[in-house]
Structure formats: structure tokens, C-alpha cells
Symmetry: C2
Subunit: 154 residues, 2 copies
Amino acid sequence: MKEENSFEAIKEIFTEFLIKNHHRKTPERYAILERINSFIGHFNADLLYNSMKVDYRVSLATVYNTLEILLDAKLIIKHQLGGQFAQYEKAFGNNTHHHLVCTNCGKVKDFSDKQIRVAIQTRTFAHFETSHYSLYLFGICSKCKELLNNSENK
Amino acid sequence: MKEENSFEAIKEIFTEFLIKNHHRKTPERYAILERINSFIGHFNADLLYNSMKVDYRVSLATVYNTLEILLDAKLIIKHQLGGQFAQYEKAFGNNTHHHLVCTNCGKVKDFSDKQIRVAIQTRTFAHFETSHYSLYLFGICSKCKELLNNSENK
DNA sequence: TTTGTTGCAAAACGTTTGCAGCCTC
DNA sequence: GAGGCTGCAAACGTTTTGCAACAAA
């Protein structure tokens, strides 16, 4: 029940952002926001575009355009990890977390750690005003470790 | 005096890495390592290539190839920040640090914080073996803040 | 009516790859 | 001499752009 309401609230935030920045409230933009809301975890522009195409006529250019606006509105977060393509993530509904990135398969998992979060958030700087942060731990996930061990022992 | 010696040590580490991994010790690879050693702070592949071109005949492909090897040898670190291109950084001669990234001008500054470092390094996971990490704090640097304030007060 | 937004396709960008010749080993 | 490495240029995949038609304001 709460889910339904909170997405309505997100749409409202988006609408307000569009009005304030003199952007138009096009159906494509709301359709994309809605699709993003249905995603769990990370996604990329291509995944989003292909998922839209199934039941909604929209161009890749519009997808990128809308992602840019959602980024400005701080409704999504952008990650630049592998190098090949950017990954995105909802910034609503999930609290601050950190990322485990497998350097073998590229998969990203989230975790929370209060001690780390507090250590970072309490740090201030004389000549820098922090707005947000990203923490990535790189390594090997258990699934890949198993695979690598097996291939070595053959 | 220490500088000279330590770079000789770096070259030796590189040589050992090349031998161990059955790579050839080509003059291009050493020339690139030497140029990287002369850099202060972050650099990218294009900057490195253009800097080499001035006095050394080398192709962009070789630059990328060598960066890949140096990455494997853990002599450099790769950052994916803006999205457009990758940035690199020497991993020798400077200890672990974190990054302040200005979202206005894109400049990157380093800082160290023992409390943050310890909090991250002591965290372990049941299904993930951490090898290294990256922490980026995004915000506005004092120079940009001044500029933005001025333009608002006009 | 104005002008921001759309879809489409072509272009741009950093990076990777294929290949013939070269040079370590 | 064998095969890894080089330079060159073409190819790659993601993202951006130019443009005419469209539709929100």
C-alpha cells in the first residue's frame, strides 16, 4: 500500500522539477520514470530502452534525455564502473549504501555499514562542500572465485 | 636522491612483472612508464599519448596496451569518473587516499583520512574477497563556489 | 503560435581489434 | 627462427547531435 503512494509522491517531485526548470511534461518522460520504478537494482540505458520498446514507442535519444533530467532532479544515480557503459540506479526508496563490484563478472551488489557511513559523513573540509559520495569495493565474488579455483585445479 | 632510487625500484618491479607474465621488455613500455612517473596527479590515455608523441614515436594502441599491463602489475590505478574517458594515476610513491571530485569543474583532489581508511579496510564479507576500493566525495570546490556565488549576486 | 521535445539516423567519442612487418627472446 | 609486440587504420559500442515533424504551453 505504501508502495503505490510513494510512487505517486515521486511523480509529484518529478512534475515539480519539470515545472521549475521549464521542461515539458511529456508522456514519454513519465513512462520512463514508471519503468525505472519497476526495476530492482542497477540498470543501463540499453536495458531500459529495450524494456520500453516492448510496449511503448520511444527512441533511444529520448531515453538518454530523460535519464539526464532524472539525474538533475536527483531521482536517479549514475555509476561509471566497467568503462563500457554507464549504470543507473533509483535514488528513491532505498537508503544510502555502498557497492561491491566483482572485477571478474562485473556484477554489483549493495551493502550498508554504519561505521563506514558515519566515518565518511562526519568528515568535512575547509575548501570543499560535499554533496554526496560513492564507495566501491572491488574484488572477486564467491561465484567467480569458485569458477577460478576450478579452472586452476584442472 | 630518494626519487631517483625509488624509480629504479619501480622499473625493477615492472621488469619482474613482465618476466613473470611472459611479456616482452620493449623500449616503448619503459618509455611510457617513465613518462607516467613524471606526471603529478591524474592523467588520461590521450594526455599520455600526446605527451609521448612530442619526443617518442609510439602508437595509441601501444599506450593502451601498456596501461593495461601497468594496471595488472598494480603500478597504476584506473578511475572512471566523468563517463567520457578513464583517468589514471600512479599507484607508486603515494599512499592510499580518497578523492574529492568537484561536480562543477571536474577537478579531482586527494585526501587521506585514517578513520575512514580503517573503517573500510576492516570490513570483510562472507561471499566477497575485497582487493581494493575507491571512495569519491562529490561536491563543490571553494573556487567554483565563489564563482557561483558571484554570478548569483549580480 | 511559440518553442521545447520527439524519432530517426548519422556522427562523435574513447577504446579495441585485425593485420603485416618488426624485434625480443 | 618463432611468436609476442608494434604502428596503422578500420571497427566497435555507447552516447550525443542535427534536423524536420510534432505537441505542450
